[in-house]
Symmetry: C2
Subunit: 308 residues, 2 copies
């Protein structure tokens, strides 16, 4: 098959040498040397705008990232072709590590001890047991359920919110717009792992923060537009929220002029909570290509109506 690699950011050198070895019978092309009508598969991270719509015979558009909101924001993106998200076990593991790091940093008061260290202050805070804490997870897909499992192993209480109601072992599940208020009201830490859709944009704003208990924190590792920055700053300044761990921002890199850089109570990571890990992701890409070759549907197809 003829495979076109399209990405303006993710470098081809991370993927093509490995994929060429794993798929010796296939031919790989880049934006510089392809014939549109010959392409069977498009591998995309941040593709050049408009290109995918010009491939008349493409049988699968395989994202090299988990989130596809960037692709779907391009009105020229053809919604008639199968689009698959990449569910990379290495990326899922990385997300679990990053989120658990933030939850434990909050739970063990490390963010407060850092502030105390900055002013040479030795002051012990009361210790909580994990069973004293409820951690809320917005979004219970592959990432949310993996995070939940690890938090449960530490003994935290875990509550989750998802679009449709349903049960998950060990997790108190909420759904719908009434459900999110109930969840927020009982959580010391709220982790955002939602896809970005019209329904979830700005979901962490003044109303949500007001429902959360005083002294709680948010961890946003989904998309910057989930958080209303001015509301977050107000909630931190008032002392209602204790901390925010932010990995994602509406504009990335975060502008030098952003007040978040120096906002007390904010920890910034540069969209590194979970990077695709080619060592584990290659196998997922290869599996989907082999499924197309043998006439099977690809795994992890996007529902264009839901937006993820």
């Amino acid at each position: 098959m003829n495979i076109l690699y399209l990405s303006q950011i993710e470098p081809a050198e991370r993927w093509l040498p490995g994929l060429s070895k794993l798929l010796p019978q296939d031919r790989f092309f880049t934006i510089d040397n392809y014939k549109a009508e010959e392409i069977d598969i498009a591998l995309v991270a941040t593709p050049q705008r408009g290109v995918i719509g010009t491939l008349p015979n493409v049988k699968l558009v395989q994202s090299l990232w988990m989130g596809v909101d960037g692709l779907l924001a391009d009105p020229t993106f053809p919604r008639t072709r199968p689009l698959a998200r990449l569910i990379d076990p290495g990326m899922v593991a990385a997300m679990v590590e990053s989120v658990v790091a933030h939850v434990l940093d909050y739970h063990r008061h490390h963010y407060i001890y850092r502030a105390q260290q900055a002013v040479s202050t030795w002051h012990k805070l009361p210790q909580f047991m994990t069973s004293d804490r409820t951690i809320g997870i917005l979004g219970l897909g592959e990432l949310g359920t993996a995070v939940a499992a690890r938090l449960l192993a530490f003994g935290f209480k875990v509550a989750g919110w998802k679009r449709r109601s349903g049960n998950l072992p060990g997790i108190e599940v909420f759904s719908g717009s009434a459900g999110i208020g109930e969840l927020l009201g009982r959580c010391q830490a709220v982790i955002c792992l939602l896809p970005l859709t019209d329904e979830t944009r700005g979901i962490l704003g003044a109303t949500a923060f007001a429902r959360m208990p005083k002294g709680s924190c948010i961890i946003n590792v989904a998309r910057g537009a989930h958080v209303v920055v001015k509301d977050l700053i107000a909630a931190l300044d008032s002392g209602h929220l204790a901390h925010a761990y932010l990995d994602v921002f509406e504009t990335e890199p975060l502008a030098l002029s952003s007040p978040l850089w120096s906002q007390p109570g904010v920890s910034i990571t540069p969209h590194t909570a979970a990077l695709t890990e080619p060592r584990t992701a290659m196998a997922c890409v290869v599996e989907n290509i082999e499924r197309i070759r043998s006439g099977q549907p690809a795994l992890n197809l996007v529902d264009f109506n839901a937006g993820y």
Copy 2:
């Protein structure tokens, strides 16, 4: 039985109301109102120096802390009476949480991203998988093995060092003075959970740091005297060690004049990695008292020759 509570720091109110309920047939005394010859059990955290040696009929000295080096440093402490350490499941869980928080902080580069945030810098660092990292644990007692189990669940490679050789599932075990050098040479993070003895004092000094790979870190949650502070500062200043997470210090509270407060690459917590948790610890104290009452030996007795 007659139980004497001796502590200058740990407040009696945290323990005596709960223990009185659990042991309604026993009588409790404090330093202000006891008769030495009537005391059967001494509960001690930081006892008034010399008092325990004056109790002629004490059948058990039960520490309310896990570490007993403070008790043994008092030359008047009677080595002829059974002394039991407190192995509190809540304290063990707290230690696992704190150590995993530090390991993940290092593994996910959060300490570097904090330094970048301080200068408004957005720069992504290469991602490692947990299987790329070997975490070393000095001391494989109750705490070390509990920490190891949780790190293994994340997929880290784990190496451990203990006094006597022996195998532990999933852990590469080293022992002896040759073994520690071998362990240090392969670990990106080294966690100190050793008891403080003549053999372990100053174990994390220039020689140890030189064996560790460039860019590695130490996590000291045992005793301050395990680390040679001037050697640590030199290893951080030279860039050989990337970070040190320090919870314990030779003098506590850490002196205002200590260079550690503002040393780049040091994260300080005020001896809070793991506090005894009366909600879970009471049951352990009660169990040992019941064992004495029924003529059985207490659990978790200290070996005075080993020093722990």
